[in-house]
């Protein structure tokens, strides 16, 4: 019974495929796999916008949207209708073709990333041998879309926003990939499905997730920080900082194209959260061995929702970073820590398992972290500013 519920979507697909002629089977199979992804994640996007507005409201002691439907639940639908009926304005001097293509490319790239994401047992679109590599390759297309949007609009603000976005995304893509390297070293594979299967075992009650190792927890934190920066979310939302450059690279977009940017950004956030779950949090596996009767896809989406809530919580808490803080944090703290993390993962691999390994690796993680943060703090020199020209 548990097996059937766990595999219900897979079985359903096979049942549907039996009614399809053999010649059409490959294409119908692909469509049947793609459609749930195209439905589930935009639906999650709608829920997230509602959750975010409600959550942020509560954090600021407000009520959040509560006019459309019970507890404002139809707010995403109202927003969708609004953005569909709005006028689509394209600047006269904009490069029309690139301006039109940028949001499409962003959303397409965000959707492509889901191809290698195992959302449940046997539930992955394609089990690529180089799945992780594919994910990051597709993820970096987002940068191209962002720059297309910023450049083609022919506006100073959008170009500035795009420049900031590129600088930030390139800076944080390095630690993002380096944090995953530790996992790849440990699991010995680039396939996302196999990485999850390596973590699916249990010792007593506890699972073998990589986040429960010294290098895993550090890797996870570094990965999440980098993922926040990659998805341009607060506190790394300089590219679209509303109070400085209004909306950054998509300032010249309106109506549904603007909504597409929004969708693309959230889809990117879900995808990076999904890959973080796959790499560190055991993918679709249950957190305790006694809870394995709950279907695997429920576990995946539960973990995803928890990560989304953490993203919202962070957004409700932290103010925006300054450009120099952003860069120095990336290159002087995150990058060295990611490199050290790779070394610790190597040490972990070659030491005999036991209590000593745990202590040694934990020390190897904590000491550099303390030293680097002390160095980062010491560098701060506060002084009176002298203005040479503004007299």
């Amino acid at each position: 019974m548990t097996q059937t519920v766990d595999q219900i979507f897979v079985l359903g697909k096979h049942w549907l495929l039996e009614y399809v002629p053999i010649a059409a089977k490959p294409i119908v199979s692909a469509v049947l796999s793609v459609i749930p992804i195209m439905v589930a994640f935009p639906l999650l996007f709608a829920i997230t916008t509602w959750l975010e507005r409600k959550g942020l409201g509560r954090m600021q002691n407000r009520l959040g949207p509560n006019r459309t439907g019970p507890m404002g639940l139809w707010q995403p639908i109202a927003d969708g209708i609004k953005s569909l009926t709005k006028e689509d304005i394209v600047p006269l001097t904009a490069d029309h073709v690139v301006h039109f293509l940028a949001p499409l490319l962003l959303v397409a790239a965000a959707f492509l990333a889901y191809a290698v994401l195992p959302v449940g047992r046997n539930m992955v679109l394609v089990n690529l041998d180089a799945g992780v590599l594919f994910f990051f390759a597709v993820g970096s297309v987002v940068e191209l879309a962002v720059f297309m949007a910023g450049w083609s609009s022919r506006s100073k603000y959008s170009l500035l926003g795009a420049m900031r976005a590129i600088a930030q995304m390139i800076s944080y893509e390095v630690p993002l990939v380096l944090a995953t390297v530790a996992v790849i070293m440990q699991s010995g594979t680039l396939s996302t499905v196999e990485i999850v299967e390596r973590q699916a075992g249990y010792t007593g009650l506890l699972p073998h997730w990589y986040v429960f190792t010294p290098w895993g927890i550090l890797g996870f934190i570094l990965f999440m920080i980098a993922a926040t920066a990659e998805s341009n979310r607060s506190p790394f939302d300089l590219p679209e900082g509303e109070s400085e450059i209004i909306a950054g690279y998509y300032i010249e977009y309106s109506g549904f194209k603007f909504a597409l940017f929004f969708l693309g950004e959230y889809l990117g956030m879900f995808a990076t959260s999904g890959i973080a779950i796959t790499l560190f949090l055991g993918g679709w596996s249950a957190p305790l061995s006694v809870l394995t009767f709950i279907p695997s896809w429920i576990w995946f989406f539960a973990k995803l929702l928890v990560l989304i809530c953490i993203f919202i919580w962070i957004r409700g808490t932290l103010p925006r970073l300054r450009m120099d803080q952003l860069m120095s944090f990336a290159w002087e703290f995150i990058l060295p820590m990611a490199l050290i993390n790779m070394f610790v993962a190597g040490v972990w691999h070659f030491m005999a398992s036991g209590f000593v390994r745990w202590i040694a690796c934990a020390t190897l993680v904590i000491v550099p972290c303390v030293v680097l943060s002390a160095l980062l703090k010491r560098k701060k020199k506060l002084q009176l500013r002298t203005y040479s020209f503004a007299e």
């Binding site: 959550g55 509560r58 954090m59 600021q60 002691n61 407000r62 009520l63 919580w313 962070i314 409700g316 808490t317 932290l318 703290f333 972290c369 303390v370 680097l372 943060s373 980062l376 703090k377």
Partner: protein, 223 residues
């Protein structure tokens, strides 16, 4: 250690998040159309016309003197005077407005019309939400829409309305006294005339009688 402040901040937002569900005092939002903040007594928005009694036609205090129309800075008042007369709030026969329109889309809520009105006929209302799809015709209020009872005036501005009522009562009293005195004087004059006619000789009794019986005018009698 890096990140201590972040953890403190996260704890604070979490406290706010859960606290907003537990204690109602944290949520200061007023859900506007359903809930409203209590209004200040001195609050004002657009003018309205006061009438006494139950009938808004008969009890209207306005005597159509056009002062407010002339004083209105944005010229949002339009009045048309009647041909006949009806008794006003004090009891004197006066003209009344056949048409009294205020365009509230033009009105700037300056209260000058209220300050210049010698009859306490126009006052400031506290209604402020007139949502409409027609911004021209629906915001041009006519006499019937503007006329509101004295009880309503008491409800929205109690202190001011009591003062106005006291002044009006004093005026009515003095008018009644004056009317009685004039009636008495007329009767006396008639009697004197009768007696003068009968006696045929006496030096100017009319002027002497008038100077004695005429009561001093109380202030604020106006026009």
């Amino acid at each position: 250690m890096l990140g201590e402040g972040i953890i403190k901040g996260l704890a604070e937002t979490a406290r706010n998040f859960f606290g907003s569900y537990l204690t109602k005092e944290r949520l200061t939002t007023v859900q506007y159309p359903e809930e409203r903040l209590p209004q200040n007594e001195a609050f004002r928005n657009f003018p309205f016309l006061v009438f006494d009694g139950a009938d808004s036609e008969a009890g209207l205090r306005c005597v159509s003197c056009h002062i407010c129309e002339k004083e209105c800075p944005p010229k949002c008042i339009f009045i048309e005077k009647s041909k006949d007369k009806k008794p006003d709030a004090v009891g004197k026969p006066q003209f009344y407005p056949v048409v009294f329109d205020i365009d509230v889309s033009v009105c700037m809520s300056c209260q000058i019309c209220v300050e210049v009105c010698p009859f306490d006929a126009i006052k400031m209302d506290v209604e402020y939400d007139y949502p409409t799809e027609d911004r021209f015709a629906a915001l041009l209020f006519n006499k019937h829409q503007l006329a509101k009872s004295n009880d309503y005036y008491h409800q929205i501005h109690p202190t001011e309305a009591s003062a106005v009522d006291a002044a009006l009562a004093a005026e009515r009293e003095s008018a009644a006294a004056k009317a009685a005195a004039t009636a008495a004087a007329a009767a006396k004059t008639a009697a004197a005339k009768v007696s003068a006619e009968s006696r045929a000789v006496k030096a100017s009794p009319d002027s002497a009688v008038e100077s004695i019986t005429e009561p001093p005018l109380s202030g604020g009698d106006g026009l």
